[in-house]
Every structure is written in C-alpha cells, then in structure tokens.
C-alpha cells in the first residue's frame, strides 16, 4: 500500500530554487563591484580614523550665537521642505488623477474616448518618469544657476522631483483600494474628480496623508543635501561646519535633524488618528 502511494512533490519547488540561486548569483558581483568589504570597517587603523572623526563631534556647539543661527536655518529648512511639498502636491494631484485607471470613464463599456484616454495616460506616465528620473540635487544645481544661491532653488527642485514621486505613489494607493464605489459613481454620471472625492478618497486618504508626511520628512533631509550646493537652510550651515572641520557645530545640527524627524512622526500619527 505504502509503496504504491508516492509522496507528492511540490511542482513549483524547482522554479523557486532557481529564482533564489539566480538572485544570489546576480547579487554577488554587485557587492564586489561596489567594493563592499565590511571587514575593513573593523581594522584597527580605520577604527582609529573614525573615532578621531567622531571625537570632533563632542561636545555639541551650544553658544547662543550659533544656536541663533541654527534656529534661523531650521526655520528656513522647514519653509523649503513645506513649500516644496505643497508645490509637489499641486503637481501630483492632477497627474495621479490622470494615471488612475479605476477612474477611467472610457473603460466602462468600453465607451467613447478610450483612445484619447490611453494617449493621455501615456503622456502622464512619460511626464512622471521624467520628473522622477532626474535627482533633486541636479535640479537644485540647475536652479541655483538660474535663480542664484538661496531657498527658491531648493523649493523648485523639491517640487519637481517630489511631484513625480507623490503622483506615482498616490496613483498606486488609489489603484490598490476598492475601485467599485468610484466605478459605480462614474456609472451614475458622476465626473472623474467627484468619483475620486466620494468613492476613493474615503478609503485612501489615511494612507495618502501618511505618505505625504513621510515625503515631507524626506524633503527636510533632501533640503539639507541641497544646502550643500547653495540652496539655503540647515544644509548650508552644515556645509560651512564641515568645511571648517567644526564637529561640534555639525553635532548640534544633527541633533536638530533627529528632532525634526521625531516631529514628522508625531504629525503623521496625529493626522492618522484624525482620519481613522
């Protein structure tokens, strides 16, 4: 009896094992190429070098003059990040609306205008990819050339890159929630934007808000990087501190960053509670 009944084998096992093996084989040369040698971190000479670098960071600079400049720069950074994300939202909202297939009236039936709808969809996609494809640092360099040193360049660079990112993720969030309420509204003659507001947003708003706040947090950090190329805020202050090898000042600025991230977390949690 037992001999006639062979154990059944998982028919997908070979495919999965092959996938895993191929993944590892691809990953290995990439690690070699990127000169990933974790052991080097722990060699005595390198440990000493890092320790010396970090020793410069304590104690953090706490003079009233520097703290004053830090506060001003922090406000400027928050302003850059907030204005950048607000502009990014204005770019992202119509693009996400255009990208979301769940809101396509022409797909019902399918009805008239579906070719036009496909073309608009493709244009929105190309626009999105080109907005996202260029890093914000490059945009910042471009705008610093055009507008001169200062916050305006940072705001524009953030608006463009983050507009693309927000639009992509908004569209994905909208696609992943139940499309039926919006489709039914469209079938009852509702306009696209209203179907979004009445059919999709009630379910998607929470996730979209928390992603937007997370992007704001990223914008705070990105504005720092852009500060290095002259786009204002805490980054410019950090750049000066690094160039003058003033570790204490850098440490103070890092503490401010951590506080800002904590603030972003608190805002996100608060907004989510409001919406749930």
């Amino acid at each position: 009896m037992m001999a006639t009944h062979a154990h059944r084998l998982d028919p997908d096992a070979l495919k999965r094992a092959t996938g895993l093996l191929v993944g590892l084989l691809l990953l290995w040369p990439l690690l070699v190429l990127s000169q990933f040698q974790p052991a080097a971190l722990f060699e005595a000479r390198n440990l000493m070098a890092m320790a010396n670098f970090l020793k410069g960071f304590v104690p953090p600079e706490m003079s009233a003059d520097f703290l004053g400049r830090t506060v001003t720069a922090t406000i400027e950074t928050l302003a850059i990040a907030t204005a950048g994300v607000a502009l990014a939202f204005l770019i992202a909202a119509p693009l996400a609306l255009a990208m979301t297939r769940a809101l396509s009236i022409a797909r019902i039936g399918p009805g008239p205008g579906r070719h036009l709808s496909d073309v608009l969809h493709a244009i929105a996609r190309v626009l999105l990819v080109s907005l996202r494809g260029v890093p914000e640092l490059v945009w910042a360099l471009v705008f610093v050339r055009a507008l001169g040193l200062g916050a305006a360049a940072g705001v524009l660079a953030l608006a463009i890159t983050y507009g693309g990112m927000l639009a992509k993720v908004y569209a994905e969030i909208l696609e992943s929630c139940d499309a039926e309420p919006a489709r039914v509204l469209l079938q009852a003659g509702s306009r696209r934007t209203l179907a979004l507001l009445y059919g999709l947003l009630p379910n998607a708003a929470q996730e979209m808000v928390s992603y937007t706040v997370y992007r704001w947090e990223c914008a705070v950090r990105a504005s720092v990087v852009m500060g290095f190329v002259g786009a204002g805020g805490l980054g410019q202050l950090m750049d000066q501190a690094m160039k003058m090898l003033n570790g204490g000042e850098a440490a103070t600025i890092l503490i401010v960053f951590i506080l800002l991230v904590l603030l972003a977390d608190a805002i996100s949690a608060g907004l989510r509670r409001q919406l749930s």
């Binding site: 022409a106 039936g109 009805g111 309420p181 009852a188 003659g189 509702s190 306009r191 009630p202």
Partner: protein
C-alpha cells in the same frame, strides 16, 4: 419606450456567453421583476440596461437613446438619469450614510456644490427624508461600515430614491433584509416608480416578492428569456422548470413554501402596501 433590447447578446472576455438573443422592451412606467437561478444572467442584463456594459451583439436603446453611439458627454447625461440599486452597495466604509445618499445627485449637481457638500452636507433634510421612508432616519450620520448588511442596502436604496432617476434598476435590492423589511423596501421603490411613473426593473431572488409586487415577470435561464408573463400566468410548472438546476422548489423569503393563489388574485396590489 423606456428601453428596448433587440436580439442582444453578451459575451465576456473569457468567451463565456452571459446572455444570448435577448429581446425585451418596456414602456414608460412599467415594473418588471427578473427572476431565475443564480448565473442566469440577471445582473448582466441589468448592467446592460444601466449602460455599464456594451453588448457583444444586437441593438440596445435606453430612454430613447442608443448609449454606445453617444458622445461621452451625452452618455454621461444619460447615465445621470439611470439609478442602480446594488446588491452589495459599493460605498466606502468610512463614508457616512448622509454623504453616501447625497452622492446620488453627483451627476446633476454643479461640481462646486458636490465639493462643498463634503465639508458640510448640502441637503441634510433631503437625505433624511429618503432614509426616513426606509425607517432608517436615525442612522443618518452613521459611518457605513458600522451598518448591517440590510441597513447598508437601505442606504443604497435611499441614494437611488434621492437621485430621482427616470429608470430604476435594482439588483437583488433586499437580499440581506428580513421579509417584513424587504416588503417595505420594495413597496417604497414601487411607490417611487409609480408616483413619478418611471420604469423599474428589479432582479429578485425571492419569487414571492416578485409575484407580489410586479405586474410583469421575466424568467431568465441560461442567459435567455424563458418566459415573460404577468404573475397570474406564471404557473407552478414554469417556476419548477426555471429553477430545475438549482432546487426542487422555487426560492422564497424565509424559505416559506410558495403559495400560488387563485389566478386573478396575484396581480392585484394589496392596499396596505400602497399607503405606507
């Protein structure tokens, strides 16, 4: 004519034939119940009438218009005049009943009114009046995910009552209600249809409800019309034959045995249901 189907067939992309050679018409103010076993094509038929599905062959005319030859603007206007009650009302769970009901007029309100209505409901009295007809006025500001299946179905009915469409389509509108409520809800739909003399087509699982409330019964089997008769002429044998694939007795509310009274009785509407 309220609608006219000529030799209409519907094939789904997976080559499954949902409906074939349907010829069916209704004049203004007619009330039709569609009955038949599950999978007979009741929902597909209603979606064709709602201009939500394009037929694979045959001709279709709804409210004197051929939906699939219209421009997208005219199609949208036509859809505004069709109200669909869904078996599982597709309403976002976080939406409140009042908003879900007011959404019935999204197609006809100016857009700014619909947007402002999200901030403060534009017509609380109107929504409450419709909900009151269905004995659910006390849940006006309840979130829809806090309602039971039967309550949610009544919100869906209230939305269509509020929409005031020229053609009412109802897909198993009372499947989650107990017999008393189901009777009351159907009576309200019938009331609305007859007082404004608009056409109503409802698919119903419970044969007794169909025979009781509708002057015209269409039996659907295997995607084709098996019979199209006034209730007095729907015989026991016809019903047994219609549901032969599913069970030995036709389905009724609470599985009470179907009492077929004397011919000539059933088409008369009992007075008590006409004056709610």
């Amino acid at each position: 004519m309220s609608f006219q189907l000529d030799n209409v067939g519907l094939r789904y992309p997976n080559e499954q034939q949902a409906l074939s050679r349907i010829t069916l018409g209704a004049g203004r103010g007619e009330r039709i119940a569609v009955i038949g076993p599950s999978g007979a094509g009741k929902t597909s038929l209603l979606r064709l009438l709602a201009a939500a599905l394009r037929p694979s062959d045959g001709r279709i005319e709804v409210l004197q218009q051929k939906p699939w030859q219209l421009s997208s603007r005219a199609l949208r206007r036509l859809r505004c005049r069709i109200g669909v009650v869904h078996q599982k009302p597709p309403i976002p769970g976080r939406q409140r009943a009042v908003t879900a009901i007011l959404a019935g007029r999204l197609g006809v309100w100016p857009w700014w009114k619909s947007v402002l209505s999200l901030i403060y409901p534009a017509d609380i009295d109107g929504a409450e009046a419709q909900l009151a007809r269905l004995e659910l006025a006390d849940r006006l500001f309840e979130r829809c995910d806090r309602l039971s299946g039967g309550q949610l179905q009544r919100v869906g009915v209230a939305r269509v009552l509020y929409q005031q469409p020229d053609l009412i389509l109802a897909d198993e509108p009372v499947s989650a209600m107990d017999p008393t409520l189901a009777n009351h809800t159907i009576s309200q739909l019938v009331n609305e249809a007859s007082s404004r003399s608009v056409t109503m087509v409802a698919s119903l699982h419970a044969v007794d409800l169909a025979l009781h409330w509708f002057p015209r019964i269409v039996g659907l089997k295997g995607g084709a019309v098996a019979f199209d008769l006034p209730p007095v002429r729907v015989s026991d044998a016809l019903l047994r034959d219609l549901y032969a694939s599913e069970s030995s007795v036709p389905p009724t509310q609470g599985l009470e045995p179907l009492a077929l009274p004397e011919p000539g009785f059933r088409h008369a509407m009992p007075r008590k249901f006409l004056s709610p």
